[in-house]
Amino acid sequence: MSLDKSTVVQIATLARIRVPEEELEGLASEMDKIIGWVEQLDEVNTDAVSPMASVVDVKLIWRPDEVTDGDCCERILANAPKKSQGFFAVPKVIE
């Protein structure tokens, strides 16, 4: 399984990371090498193995239905690069 430039472009789009054209080749070859290296896991027969569901042996704890948070508009917007009238602002999206 070979990871080529066009695959990197696809993955980079999924991950929303712009990769300059001149770096694509190098990145593809690095990633291809890494994927080739991790493929050694295929040596192990795992047909009868269940994937690890949780690292720590505890149960998922539930919290009671109470409003304990929110109402902190300033804190929420404090670090926003662009905001207006209480909203976050991003370049317009056309549906």
């Binding site: 929303r16 569901a53 948070d69 917007l77 207006s84 909203f87 549906e95």
Partner: protein
């Protein structure tokens, strides 16, 4: 069987519905911020909802309970172990860049729901699964020329996604499904079913085929936020697909938006790239484990549901199926009816609720929970009909007055002297007076103009301020006119 006619023969519609129901809860699914509707932007957002660095989800107990309750109300299998998965995609109203949902192991499995169709017919439809997931925030595209504004109040609110089997075969069945589902959810208290506010949202999956053939490719139609629109969207989409296929086109597996301004569907440009959501179990959460005792406790607390309520109203009160169905649609209505009908004529009570009371509620635009007339008050009105104080006609006027003033029927009857006139002597005297005054009309009647009978009745009613018992007026007039 509902079939559409095409050029190449009959076509059958295959419809499945995905409903997102907002869980009734105070706080959100994985954060402690409030889940109420309509607050000022970004005031119901916790650090977790805003996906600040280092934030982690903690599950709200009520969401688990409500999902189980909903599953039980739909006769569904409850999965004692379920897993939360991340659904990864980028959008400004999805701060973490993933939605916490359930993909391969949902909390509720297969269930069923019974559709009430026209003419008293019913049909059972399958529910494929129900799972819990987070709602997204809101993107406002029309507040600014070059920017989209983002409000995260809704981000993280608990939703139940209820997926039906593709068992429906007509827009009417889809509507019946939605109505019944909404009714059940409201009965259970797990969702308020308010489509206008978006606490109940529907996506329709539509495909067409010649009867007996394999399923065709389906399209998912989003943005149908009323029952009426669901019907229109399905009708349009089915026709669109038939036309496409009959003209040698191919239906693409895609997502389409319903445009309510012209009742059409169109392809969604932003969803062009086939979505690779890269689902994987959320490592910030452990598998959700519930025990059978938890499920049984909820089962024991379930209210009587619409289908059972309808059956019981029919058997206990001798009501017709259609009437019982009407009363059972909303739990509050059925409760109102049962309180009102205690010790009274159930059929009379039913007519007054489904006829006059519903009329009053429609006019004032309120639900039965905010009825200006209580069950006790309406019952009091019925008593005055049963004991002959009021005619049915007068009672209608009294009801109007009760709504206006909030006073009880008996009080109003006394104040306004609305007791009906049933004294034969009095009625005869009034009839005589009317016939005396309208001798010309009397002559016309005698000459064969039968219609004028109603005119005489009307005049007597007018003269008595509406209080004369209409039945008796009829009898007396008949006798006097000798017909």
């Amino acid at each position: 069987m509902t079939l559409l006619q095409g050029n190449t023969g009959d076509w059958e519609m295959v419809i499945g519905l995905e409903v997102h129901a907002q869980v009734i809860s105070k706080a959100k699914l994985f954060s402690g911020a409030a889940a109420t509707f309509g607050a000022e932007p970004n005031t119901q957002v916790s650090l977790v909802d805003a996906a600040m660095p280092g934030m982690l989800p903690v599950i709200n107990q009520i969401a688990v309970e409500q999902a189980v309750r909903t599953g039980l109300g739909l006769n569904a299998k409850i999965n004692l172990v379920s897993v939360f998965d991340r659904k990864n995609y980028f959008y400004p109203d999805l701060p973490p860049g993933y939605q916490i949902s359930q993909f391969s192991q949902p909390i509720v499995g297969h269930g069923t729901i019974i559709l009430d169709l026209d003419g008293g017919e019913t049909r059972e439809v399958g529910i494929t699964r129900i799972h819990l997931e987070q709602d997204a925030g809101k993107s406002l595209h029309d507040q600014h020329p070059s920017h989209t504004f983002v409000d995260l109040n809704r981000s993280g609110v608990a939703l139940m996604e209820i997926v039906s089997e593709p068992d429906m075969r007509s827009p009417e069945e889809a509507v019946a499904y939605l109505r019944k589902l909404r009714s059940v959810l409201r009965y259970l208290g797990t969702c308020d079913g308010n489509m206008e506010q978006g606490s109940l949202r529907c996506d329709a999956n539509v495909s067409v085929r010649h009867p007996g053939e394999e399923f065709g490719t389906r399209c998912e139609i989003k943005n149908v936020n009323s029952v009426r629109f669901v019907q229109q969207a399905i009708e349009y989409e089915a026709r669109r697909q038939i036309e496409l296929v009959e003209n040698n086109g191919v239906v693409e597996l895609e997502t389409r938006l319903f445009d309510s301004s012209n009742c059409t569907t169109r392809s969604m440009r932003s969803k062009e790239e086939s979505h690779d959501y890269r689902y994987f179990p959320d490592p910030d959460l452990l598998p959700l484990e519930i025990d059978q005792e938890f499920v049984e406790n909820i089962r024991a607390s379930l209210p009587e549901l619409p289908d059972a309520k309808k059956e019981r109203l029919m058997s206990e009160y001798g009501l017709a199926e259609e009437d019982a169905g009407l009363l059972a649609t909303e739990r509050a209505t059925a409760d109102f009816y049962e309180e009102m009908t205690k010790g009274r004529d159930p059929k009379l009570a039913c007519n007054w609720v489904t006829g006059d009371l519903f009329g009053v509620l429609n006019k004032s635009g309120v639900g039965i929970e905010e009825s200006p007339v209580s069950a006790a008050m309406l019952g009091g009105l019925l008593d005055l009909i049963s004991d002959g104080t009021l005619s049915g006609r007068l009672a209608k006027d009294v009801l109007e007055a009760m709504v206006e003033t909030g006073k009880e029927a008996a009080v109003l009857v006394k104040e306004r002297q609305l007791k009906q006139i049933t004294d034969t002597g009095v009625i005869e005297a009034e009839v005589d007076k009317v016939l005396e005054v309208h001798t010309d009309k009397l002559a016309e009647y005698k000459a064969g103009k039968d219609k004028l009978f109603g005119f005489f009745v009307g005049q007597v009613m007018k003269a008595t301020g509406g209080k004369a018992n209409p039945g008796m007026v009829n009898e007396v007039l008949k006798a006097k006119l000798g017909s």
